[in-house]
Each structure stands twice: as C-alpha cells, then as structure tokens.
C-alpha cells in the first residue's frame, strides 16, 4: 500500500495523463481486461454491419439448421437465418439494456437514496417500500412487470430498472447516513450551509465511487436478466435478435444442433464476465480498504 510513494515525489516530472492512465491499467489488470473486452463488444454491436454480417432477419427455408461453415460462420437457425449475424446484432440489445439500466437505476436510486438519507420523515416510508421491493426476487419482479406489457427493449429496460433501483437507493442512503455524522459535514451544517449545497459539495462526491462500482454490477445483472427474460419468452420480441431469444429459438433443437445455443451463450458469458471484471477492478482501485479483503 505504501510502495507507490516514489511516484508522488516532487522531484520527478509529473507524468502525462496518458502515462498515468497506462500505469493505472497496468496496476489494475482486471480493469484493462474487462474494459477492453467490453469496448470490443460495444464496437461489435455498434458497427454490426461492418463485420461481414447479412440481414439477421432474412429467412432462407432451404438452408435451415446448417452447421457452421464458410458461408455461415456460426451456422443457421430453424428458419435458415444466419446465426453469426444474429449474434453480432444481438450484442446491441445486451449493451443497450445493460448500459441503460445501469444509468437509469443509478440516477433514480441516487434520488431515492438521497431523499431517504436526508429527509428523516420520509426515511421510514421509503425504507419500508424498498424492503418490500427487495423481498421480491428481481427476476420474478421483472417477469411480473413484463407479463403486463408488450415485449420490447424499452419495456425490458423499465422492468429491470424498477427491479434494480432499491439496491442503489439502499447503498446511497447508507453513504448519506454515515457521511452526515462526519465532522466536516456537521461543521458545514453549523456554518449554515443549506441542504442542496451539502448534497452537492459533500455528499455527491462521496457517492460517486461506490455508485460507479454498483453501476457496473447492475449492468452485468441487467444483461443476465434481459437474456433470461428473452430466453423464457418474456423479453425482447423474436423480431429483434437478442442473445436470449436466439437461445430460446435454439432450445427445441439443442440436443442435435447445439451450435445455435453455443455462440450466443459464449458471447453473453464473455460480456457479463467483462463487466464483472471491470467492476471488481474499479472496486479494488477506488477503495483500497476493501481491495484487500474481497
């Protein structure tokens, strides 16, 4: 922990941003590996038409359930659609859902958590509601929400966000409660600082680190829940390829044609692994105290 002192010596020229970033990545390889993989997946989905894909929804009844070949790298599915193209386009759904839910749940959870932590009269009610929501297993909560709406990416995002908000709110409330007892916050209050100023100056900056870490875990969890919802037929409609619904379509034939399930499964696993690695790395680098233990 104390070994890095030398780099802070005033004698040494201050390294450039780029050099410092590289050093950070070297010191936290899981951030480098996770972040790198995640960027690759984002590019894969965003630039899907560039990677030699064909129309992922184009049906060709004469070429059904083919094994991987030169023409169809990952083979074809039950309707003769190219699995490679579907998997590449499917990355869009996972990335969109994962990132949107992470951002939305963080922002809304932050708002709820700040209210609970700051407004004593609201705390009791908010926490009971959060306890109630947290006692519904997230997947079931998302299933219940999806049962009442039409399957679409937007609805999946809303459903998973609602299921994830309580976790963030609880985290933020905990941070607020511990911070408001800190001497410098008490000093600010006794100096007559108003609540908005205290939140902006003292509370928010301290929630950024734990929230960033939490957001990556929520992103991973959202990607998994989206895949599960689409897999059981309650998520993204079959017209939009997503890793979950490609697997759902390959399910009937998995014993004879496992390749239809294999490729989306591998990509989903790699993506979630990348996000989790990034989260672990960020946690270790942002909070060296837990780094030793977890």
């Amino acid at each position: 922990m104390t070994l890095h002192l030398s780099s802070e010596l005033p004698l040494e020229a201050r390294p450039s941003h780029g050099a410092r970033f590289l050093r950070y990545l070297r010191r936290h390889p899981s951030v480098a590996v996770g972040g790198g993989l995640l960027i690759a997946i984002v590019l894969l989905g965003a630039l899907a038409p560039l990677w030699g894909t064909v129309d992922p929804t184009a049906i060709s009844p004469t070429r059904r359930t083919r094994l991987p070949s030169e023409a169809n790298w990952f083979g074809t599915d039950l309707l003769g659609r190219d699995v490679y193209s579907r998997v590449v386009y499917g990355a869009r759904v996972s990335v969109t859902v994962g990132f949107s839910v992470a951002i939305l749940a963080s922002v809304m959870g932050l708002a709820v958590g700040l209210c609970a932590g700051f407004l004593r009269w609201a705390d009791g009610v908010i926490m009971r509601v959060i306890d109630g929501m947290m006692s519904i297993p997230p997947i079931l909560l998302a299933i219940a929400l999806m049962a009442l709406t039409r399957g679409s990416i937007g609805n999946v995002i809303i459903a998973v966000t609602i299921a994830e908000i309580p976790r963030v709110a609880r985290l933020v409330r905990g941070v607020v409660l511990s911070l408001r007892e800190q001497p410098y916050v008490e000093a600010a209050i006794s100096n007559g600082a108003r609540a908005p100023r205290i939140v902006m100056k003292h509370i928010l900056p301290n929630t950024i680190a734990p929230m960033t870490v939490q957001a990556t875990y929520i992103c991973a969890s959202a990607m998994l829940i989206e895949a599960i919802l689409s897999f059981i037929g309650a998520g993204v409609p079959p017209s939009t390829p997503s890793w979950g619904n490609i697997m759902a379509e390959g399910r009937a034939l998995w014993q004879v044609k496992p390749h239809i399930i294999l490729f989306p499964a591998v990509l989903l696993s790699i993506t979630v692994l990348a996000v989790n690695l990034l989260g672990d790395g960020l946690r270790d680098s942002l909070d060296p105290r837990i780094a030793k233990r977890l």
Binding site: G132, L140, I143, L145, L148, I228, I232, W254, L268
Partner: protein, 313 residues
C-alpha cells in the same frame, strides 16, 4: 426472546402487505390495457371484456383491492385465466419439484462453498485462493442456462451418466429422484457457491487477523482447530446471512433451471403462465416466493441467537 420473535414477525407484516399491494397494483399501473395485452392479439372484444371482468378491472381499484386482499388472507390466490383452476391448487401441484431442487442446491452449495472460502482465506494470495476467486467471478458471470445446457450436453448426452431432462417424484424412490436432480442442482448451485465462497473468504480473512486467533496460534492450537473452531464459528453470522439473501438468487435461477431441464416446478409454471400472460398465476407465484423469501430470512435472523450466544434479544 419470545418478545423478539413476535416483534420480528410483526415487522414482516408491512413487507408482505407491500408486496401484495405492489403485485396487485401492477395491473392498474401498467401502461396500456392489461386486459387487451393478456387476451393477446387475436382476441375478440368479447374475450377482452371477459378477461377484464375476471380480473375485476371493471370495478374500482379500492373495492377490488379490498376484495382481493381479503381472499388472499384466506389463502385464495384467485383463478387461472387459462385453465380456470384455483391458483393455489396449481402452485401446490408444482411445489415438490421446486422445493426438492432448491433444498438439494442449498445443501450442495453450503457443503462446497464454505470449505472453499475457508481454504481460500487460509491460503490467501496462493494459487488456491486465486483459483477460488476466479471461480467466483466466473460463477457470477456465466448465465444459469449456459451452465445447464453445458452440463446436460456433457454428462447426459455425451457420457450418458445421468438423465437429460425431467423429474421423478420422491415417492418413486430416492435414487431416481436424486439422479434427475443432480445436474439441475449443480447448475443452480454455481452462482450460489460463488456468492457464499466469496463472503466466507472475506469474513474469514477479517477474523484470522483478530487477536484471539493469534493467541490461539501462540498457545499451540492446531491449524484445523484455529480455522474451524475459532474462526469459522465466528464467521457464522455473516455467512448465514448471505445464505439467506442468496435464496432470492435461487428462486430466480430455479425459473430458468426448470425450463432447461424440463422440471415441472414453480418456475416452469411461471414460464408457461408468462407465455399465456396468465397474470393471476404470476401474481400468485410472486407472492408465494416473496413470502418464502421473507420467512427464510426471518428464520435466519432468529438463528443468530443459536449460532452466536453473544447475540441476545
């Protein structure tokens, strides 16, 4: 103690009430017309009206909620839209496979994960520790159905050691029951093992740093006794807590595991219900599962006094 149990039981009442209120209100909060969505795209206006009436959406919210919660309190979860059977009956029929799967997974996970966590903490920073931590990251990242299909492919299809899919009731013998459940339990256990092993390791690391552990070592207590008597005992409370919290993961994972392995349990019921948009059934399953989850965690709270005699209520 009795006063604590009563107080704790009472504290779960608002939680359960909120869950009920939430699951019920979804029908009214949901965008669009739930009756039309449940009826599906090919439904005639008459069908939609029939479903609207059966869900009670044609009557005021408050009246309907009062009626519904009164019935739920009596153990009546309503009637399935598609099979016209009582939801409680449908859930009752599916309980055995799901409970079997979850209990077996629970036992398997605890038996594997705790020693893993202990050894990782003991050999901290060694290759064993790194392997356990790597396993934990993988366990969190690989989706349940991926593990399920992989295990079924290798051990059932290729090696032919175990049945591919299905469920045999316990009444037809222990061995066939177990054989059908081995692969699903391992599948479901993976993420749970990762969770428990990680927390066990973290807690053990903290405890192995304590003065009394150093004292025990200094007076010549054997490594095994230090680990399992002095340390693991003190690690019990956080570990048991995470076992309880992880039950939510088990319930969610069971939905998927049951579809992969064609087990006719609650998860399968939920998936069938969602394909038919049979909301009363989903509502019932969510309520029952949440109730189970809350009760499990209540029992865990109460068990603290047994595990750690210092805790007195």
């Amino acid at each position: 103690m009795l006063a604590f149990i009563i107080r704790r039981l009472l504290a779960t009442v608002p939680v359960i009430c909120f869950v009920a209120l939430f699951v019920f209100s979804l029908l009214y909060i949901a965008p669009g017309d739930p009756a039309a969505i449940i009826a599906g795209d090919q439904a005639s206006p008459a069908d939609i009206e029939r479903i609207r009436a059966s869900l009670g959406l044609d009557r005021p919210y408050v009246v309907r909620f009062a009626e519904w919660s009164f019935k739920v309190a009596q153990g009546d979860l309503g009637t399935s839209i598609f099979t016209s059977k009582p939801v409680t009956e449908l859930i009752g029929q599916r309980l055995e496979p799901t409970l079997s799967l979850m209990l077996l997974t629970l036992v398997l996970s605890v038996v594997i994960a705790i020693p893993m966590g202990v050894v990782a903490a003991w050999k901290v920073s060694s290759w064993v520790d790194r392997a356990v931590m790597a396993f934990a990251v993988f366990g969190f990242s690989i989706p349940v159905f991926v593990v399920g299909y992989l295990l079924a492919w290798v051990f059932a299809l290729k090696l032919d050691w175990l049945p591919v899919q299905g469920y045999t009731p316990l009444a037809q013998g222990f061995v066939p029951w177990l054989k059908n459940l081995i692969l699903p339990s391992i599948t479901l256990a993976l993420v749970y093992i990762a969770l428990i092993a990680r927390i066990t390791r973290a807690t053990m690391l903290e405890i192995l740093d304590q003065d009394y552990v150093r004292t025990a070592r200094a007076k010549g207590v054997s490594q095994r006794e230090v680990l399992f008597l002095h340390s693991l005992k003190n690690a019990a409370v956080p570990v048991i807590t995470i076992v309880g919290i992880g039950v939510a993961l088990l319930i969610g994972g069971a939905v998927v595991t049951e579809s992969v392995f064609a087990i006719p349990g609650l998860g399968r019921l939920t998936v069938d219900a969602i394909l038919q948009r049979d909301y009363p059934v989903i509502q019932g399953v969510v309520l029952v599962c949440s109730l189970v989850y809350v009760l499990v965690n209540l029992l865990i709270d109460l068990s603290y006094t047994i595990v750690d005699p210092r805790i007195r209520y």
